[in-house]
Symmetry: C2
DNA sequence: TTCAAACTTGACTATTTTAGTCGGGTTTAT
DNA sequence: ATAAACCCGACTAAAATAGTCAAGTTTGAA
């Protein structure tokens, strides 16, 4: 089990954005340079973030992106959800009657995985972008 | 992020084994049939479990595998560790001074991921094979 | 003593996921 | 006009996953 770069990049980029969008929109080029993330990849990520209304775009020269909500109101679960970073522990469809092996009863690990999934979701739901920005400012940069 | 089948299979197989090894060793063929897991794949998994001394093998006809410890003493972390199911959240080398992007400072998400990793590890460390067997017996089968 | 059930080992492979890249756009401040 | 920026879809290389396959060895029981 591992978290993927997509989710990590999304969080890194949004923290960067939250720190710098006070006055002007922030261009992906700047984020790319500061965070060391491929520009083309960032564009894919921000396209998703925009569709989920986490950021707004400003087109044209001097354009970029701005947060669409207060940093306090953006939870990590929202971010992960937007970029399709799945916290997927159970293998079966949850609402299905069938288990992961096609049998008509859930497998012995099902409840366990499900419980873990809740743990993780709660963890990410308790963290906002603001928390991360603060945390980051404290340890300087 | 997702847990892989390897870890899930290992746990399923060991619960099965724990339930049936009271008298005789349990053959992988039986586990394969009961749990719907490829026999060849199970062999790979049990080879690892044996090397980490979680199970013992009994060769020859009527052979199979038996637990090498009390079910109570086998934690899920031990199982995952044995089959190389990694709970890997941070992307960088933890002990390295460098961050995941090669910069000389850890990225903004590092602490967060690390904290999550501890959460998950604690969760799995608190669950023994015995717990799962009990849980499984309660809901009948 | 022969046989088949079962473990043992290592290599090979197909599928899926990830992490990009690439090539073309469109918009808009200057 | 032009260049900085966003926008979009298709393509691809690399890695991880989930197996498969082939060729053994061991040993209880008929
Ligand atoms: S994970 Fe849901 S039935 Fe196995
Ligand atoms: S995950 Fe450790 S530095 Fe980014």
């Amino acid at each position: 089990m591992r978290l993927t770069s997509k989710g990590r990049y999304a969080v890194m980029a949004l923290v960067d954005l939250a720190k710098f969008d006070n006055i002007n929109p922030v261009s992906l080029r700047d984020i790319s340079l500061r965070q060391g993330i491929s520009l083309d990849y960032l564009e894919q990520i921000f396209s998703k973030l925009r569709k989920k209304e986490i950021v707004q775009s400003v087109r044209g020269i001097q354009g970029g992106y701005v947060l669409n909500k207060k940093a306090k109101e953006i939870k990590l679960t929202n971010i992960f959800d937007a970029v399709d970073e799945k916290i997927k522990t159970v293998q079966c469809k949850k609402e299905s009657k069938k288990g992961c092996n096609g049998k008509p009863i859930k497998c012995v690990t099902h409840n366990l995985w499900d419980e873990l999934e809740n743990h993780i979701t709660n963890f990410f739901d308790g963290k906002s972008l603001e928390d991360l920005v603060k945390d980051n400012n404290e340890r300087r940069f």
